[in-house]
């Protein structure tokens, strides 16, 4: 960690503040739709599901969220700002030379960010290692990894999906944002790819907060879970 890590914001904000917070970040408009596709999932995770706050961001028993799909992190940064992990003032520095907020997140610069991401196909394999590390140390804490449907093209994900299924990593949850952006698609649906490796699955409306919360809290025993969140095509 470096001196550039931000102090927590004083006052947590609300879901309805997110569009304004996102609007403070300019320069990566080409990934705006990618960011938007994750917005509701991120809000539900941080406001209703994950056991982590700015005060417990270093607690070894905290829940971990790994944003594997590091493109378009504007929604992620907005949620982190709203929940007090990073100062709102930092958002307008997005992408600047001395900003903590790059167009891909850097965990060494941002308090509460568990992994640095950007190159696709890294978050889920790392997440398997994090889950194994917590298990080896008999720690509490679940591991939630967000991937995109197109990101699943990367073969490294399938190394991780297979191993996590074989090992029954029940503390591992994958959120797969399905906005049908994979060029060649996933015939038979994304969930089936995980199920064949022994994962539990749920497919829900990616904008329905209650449905998302229910799916994330399903907590299957003895196997990992994928929650496929369906949002508008191309969003």
């Amino acid at each position: 960690m470096t001196d550039a890590i931000a102090a927590p914001a004083a006052t947590p904000l609300d879901y309805h503040d997110l569009p304004h917070l996102i609007g403070l970040m300019t320069g990566d408009e080409k990934h705006a739709v990618s960011a938007d596709s994750t917005l509701d999932v991120l809000w539900v995770l941080y406001s209703r599901v994950l056991n982590v706050t700015p005060a417990t961001a270093d607690d070894p028993d905290r829940d971990r969220f790994l944003l594997s799909k590091g493109h378009g992190p504007m929604s992620y940064y907005a949620v982190l700002a709203a929940r007090g992990f990073i100062p709102v003032d930092a958002l307008s520095t997005f992408g600047a030379f001395d900003s903590m907020l790059g167009h891909h997140p850097d965990r060494t610069l941002i308090r509460g960010v568990e992994i640095s991401s950007g190159s696709l196909g890294h978050g889920l394999p790392i997440g398997v290692g994090v889950a194994l590390g917590l298990q080896a140390q008999a720690r509490d804490g679940r591991v939630v990894v967000l991937v995109g449907d197109a990101e699943l093209d990367e073969g490294t994900n399938h190394e991780a999906i297979a191993l996590a299924g074989r090992l029954g990593l029940e503390r591992l949850t994958v959120v797969a944002i399905d906005n049908r952006s994979a060029t060649h698609g996933w015939p038979g649906a994304i969930a089936a790819r995980f199920e064949v490796e022994g994962w539990a699955s749920a497919t829900v409306d990616g904008r329905d907060h209650d449905a998302l919360e229910t799916a994330f809290n399903a907590a299957p025993v003895g196997r990992p879970m994928v929650v496929v969140t369906v949002v508008e095509e191309g969003s």
């Binding site: 194994l132 190394e159 191993l163």
Partner: protein
């Protein structure tokens, strides 16, 4: 020269020492990608949460090592050189270095340790590749005793380190200090830096030459202080068991204020489509005693 082989291999020593350390240190973990499982079979049964075989998935092996490190464990990733270093290079770069966490990477199958296997199982580029990353220590032992010392040193740190094990060894261990060159002997015509398993051959090739011989078992960080302190002539000969010239820029940087000339000897950038033995490949690349003697001798004499 009488050569007596060590009683165990570097790989044997790695497995034995690591097994002991797993018992002593509850924060130590080993990640394998099928290769090496036999050597850790009993330990894997005893510590199933800390000796993890991910299957034939080398990229996942490094990512898992990263994830373990993110939770506070000290992880070792171990496999055959091309799979550990080349196939998983982006994971080493992004999942370890870029995340700001470390792991100890331990390879077997150095350069052409298994020449019958062909290029798919050879990676003399390993040190050049890993040396391009920030904060990656690189150790090249020449004897099982040195491998053990460097392994213990690497595990004791918290950054990333590469321990390059080889089937090619020197007959006797040197009294090494991790991170420092060992002065084997002093002379006045040139300075020879012999890296890891090249030492015995360099000693024999240069036995009647008036040269300083420095023995390097850590090449990153590069011991520039010892090189500068021991330099008695402006001629340096770098003898590495991997890609020729890998550490040449480090010599140049160490001697940036000293006029000098440099001969880099190592595995050339060619694919030698031959099988056979490591000794035959050494000879083909001029890395046997005769080849070294010829090149070192001509270089030293050309300075007179």
């Amino acid at each position: 020269m009488t050569v007596t082989a060590p009683t165990d291999t570097m790989r044997d020593r790695f497995e034995r020492v690591t097994t002991g350390l797993l018992e002593e240190n509850p924060r130590l973990a080993v990640v394998l990608a099928e290769i090496g499982v036999a050597g850790f079979a009993r330990t894997m049964r005893r510590y199933p949460d800390r000796v993890i075989n991910v299957g034939i998935r080398e990229q996942l092996m490094i990512s898992v090592a990263s994830g373990l490190a993110l939770t506070g464990l000290r992880s070792i990733a171990h496999s055959y050189t091309p799979f550990l270093v080349e196939r998983a290079f982006e994971q080493v770069k992004l999942d370890l270095a870029h995340q700001g966490v470390g792991a100890v990477l331990v390879s077997i199958g150095a350069s052409y340790d298994w020449p019958e296997g062909g290029l798919t199982h050879q990676a003399p580029e390993d040190v050049a590749l890993l040396g391009s990353l920030p904060d990656m220590e690189i150790h090249v032992p020449g004897h099982p005793d040195e491998a053990e010392a460097l392994l213990r040193f690497a595990i004791g740190g918290d950054g990333s380190a590469y321990l390059r094990l080889s089937a090619q060894v020197n007959a006797e261990p040197m009294p090494i200090t991790p991170g420092r060159f060992h002065v084997v002997r002093r002379g006045f015509a040139a300075t020879v830096i012999a890296v890891g398993p090249m030492l015995d051959r360099v000693n024999e090739a240069a036995h009647d030459l008036d040269v300083t011989i420095l023995y390097a078992t850590t090449v990153v960080p590069f011991d520039a202080d010892t090189l500068r302190a021991e330099l008695t002539a402006p001629s340096v000969i770098l003898v590495e068991p991997y890609l020729q010239g890998t550490s040449a820029h480090r010599v140049s940087d160490a001697l940036r204020d000293t006029p000098h000339r440099l001969l880099s000897i190592g595995v050339p950038r060619v694919e030698l489509r031959r099988y056979g033995s490591p000794e035959e490949h050494d000879a083909a690349h001029g890395l046997d005693v005769a080849g070294l003697r010829d090149r070192i001798g001509r270089f030293v004499r050309s300075d007179r």
